[in-house]
Amino acid sequence: MSKGRFGIHGGQYIPETLMNAVLELEEAYNHYKEEEGFNRELTELFREYTGRPSRLYYAAHMTRDLKGPKIYLKREDLNHTGSHKINNVLGQALLAKKMGKTRVIAETGAGQHGVATATAAALMGMECEIFMGEEDIKRQALNVYRMRLLGAKVHGVTSGTATLKDAVSETMREWSNRISDTHYVLGSVMGPHPFPTIVRDFQSVISREIKEQILEKEGRLPDAVLACVGGGSNAMGTFYHFIEDPGVRLIGCEAAGRGIDTAETAATISTGRLGIFHGMKSYFCQDDDGQIAPVYSISAGLDYPGVGPEHAWLYDTGRAEYVPVTDEEAVDAFEYLSRTEGIIPAIESAHAVAYARKLAPSMGREQILVITISGRGDKDCAAIARYRGEDIYE
């Protein structure tokens, strides 16, 4: 069996032409992750540039309203650039720089990862090109402008369904055309080894902080942690340091779109089956011939037909649970959190808030629930207004 396995999942299913690049990356990562200088530099960036540690906020109104456990929000939305994506991007960009790369490329769905990558490239003086589905470019005009403002070149991808999966394919193609000076900043815990591990390690700062913060505030670990799952990077970051704590339930919230009994869904674990795609063995939405299914969610960031291999393994072993959340439930939660706590979450994160609303009434008042708010919702306001039948100009 090859490297980078999580149970049967993971691996390196990529063309021979990309193998040199991932082997070089693995070697560099194994070296720098232990290096004191690298870690000091990254910690400094996290603190001074991103604004870490992000707050663990006690949501008093939501707690009172749901009459269940104490609810805490892990505020990744307060990071510079507005989402958890910056954690991974700063780590990878710094690594790329140490490797002597002068150019970074990345895929993006909602545009959050593209904005974060363009930001890191601007900060570190690197050339940056972003690949984004034409459909998403239409849905996320503001983020496209932000990327260009930051000096990145944005390429529209028209192949396939012109969404996130096609952007990933196109970025992989671009990488195999130009490797020597270029690093592919993959945005989630997916793709070929070593990406799922690298991205998880950089995102694991989320659960490391939650653990410290909750011990300080409550003197004990939470009973459950919740996060939304597309490829699964903020969820992996939220789960990682709790995997060895069996008392903590790990719950991933997938985008069910119009429902898991319809074709318009992106809930991979609920509706997909085992397959091989985008460099990894994992669960994928696909048809009987193994053709990857066109998926759908109101959230461009969760609109992906696969899930990271470590999630697939956490599901197989029963260590984590994965639940579907529909567009309607997510939009309700988007409005709910805005009104009860004065926090506008990203529509992606609203999927986790939605499930918390269902789960909380069944939990005891002495229990603790942590929800990761992976990003802020400014970018979604126009789309949600449209969903509610109101046309506004950005």
Binding site: P15, T17, M172, I179, L274, G290, I292
Partner: protein, 265 residues
């Protein structure tokens, strides 16, 4: 490994055209296979379309999309190959993506009938396919595919790209049938391929096949001179794009021309 695969390189430099099955229909593909056999192609690479061909450029991406829109299925392609085998002994290879093989399920076989890699490969062998090429399966991941291929007499073709000598040596030792040489990106692509072929030959006597389509004319010629076989990735596909169902005669002429040109290099 079948005797047909051994025969590919027995009559001088081989020409291996690629075609996407079902572009624009399986009937058209079948007709073109006969045309290519008549024009003395040495092995025909049959692409099974995939929704997301991550290693392909725009020409073959579009062909995959046309084939899937046209209704091509894996079972339909197996049935086509069975028909073809009644008419010709020309060596045939399947080229597709790992998931098409891994997630294969025979229609109407029911849940209790296990699908997957073994079922696909058994069916391919039964239909008379001689080799399997999976662009997204590198050396490290080969065993789960190569083992069932070996058991069923199908050559699992490995790709080699310019890389450190140790890596190439491992690939060449494990290779069956021939080595499919693919270029690494960068400014010295042609030079890289020449070095690669030399390294392979030092390691072992095994045919080297190069897809010269992405090289400028003069470099393509010098690579073709070096190789034991030339694969044409986009040549036939471009004709399909242009002539659709009426491609067979154009494909026949194209293969004949290429075969001649390669023969006198």
């Amino acid at each position: 490994m079948s005797n047909r695969i051994r025969s590919v390189f027995e009559n001088g430099k081989a020409f291996l055209p690629f075609i996407t099955c079902g572009d624009p229909s399986l009937e058209a593909t079948e007709e073109m296979v006969y045309a290519m056999a008549e024009a003395q192609a040495d092995l025909i690479v049959l692409g099974i379309p995939f929704s997301d061909p991550t290693a392909e450029g725009p020409v073959i991406q579009a062909a995959n999309a046309r084939a899937l829109t046209g209704g091509a299925t894996t079972d339909g392609i197996f049935a086509m190959v069975e028909r073809i085998r009644r008419h010709t002994v020309i060596p045939l290879a399947f080229m597709t993506y790992a998931n098409v093989v891994f997630s294969y399920r025979q229609k109407g076989a029911g849940e209790e009938q296990p699908g997957g890699i073994r079922a696909f490969i058994r069916r391919a062998a039964g239909a008379g396919v001689d080799a399997l090429i999976l662009p997204d399966v590198p050396f490290e991941e080969r065993e789960e595919f190569a083992l069932p291929c070996r058991e069923n007499g199908i050559a699992f073709i490995l790709q080699a790209a310019p890389a450190p000598g140790e890596r190439i040596s491992g690939i060449v030792q494990a290779a069956e049938g021939f080595v499919y040489c693919v270029p690494a990106p960068g400014v010295r692509r042609t030079e890289g391929m020449e070095v690669l072929v030399r390294q392979i030959r030092q390691e072992r006597e095994i045919p080297c096949v190069i897809d010269t389509g992405s090289f400028p004319r003069s470099e393509a010629d010098s690579l073709a001179r070096l190789a034991d076989g030339v694969m044409a990735g986009t040549g036939v596909v471009e004709l399909c794009q242009r002539y659709g169902k009426g491609s067979a005669s154009h494909v026949r002429d194209y293969v004949r021309r290429k075969k001649e040109a390669i023969g006198i290099l």
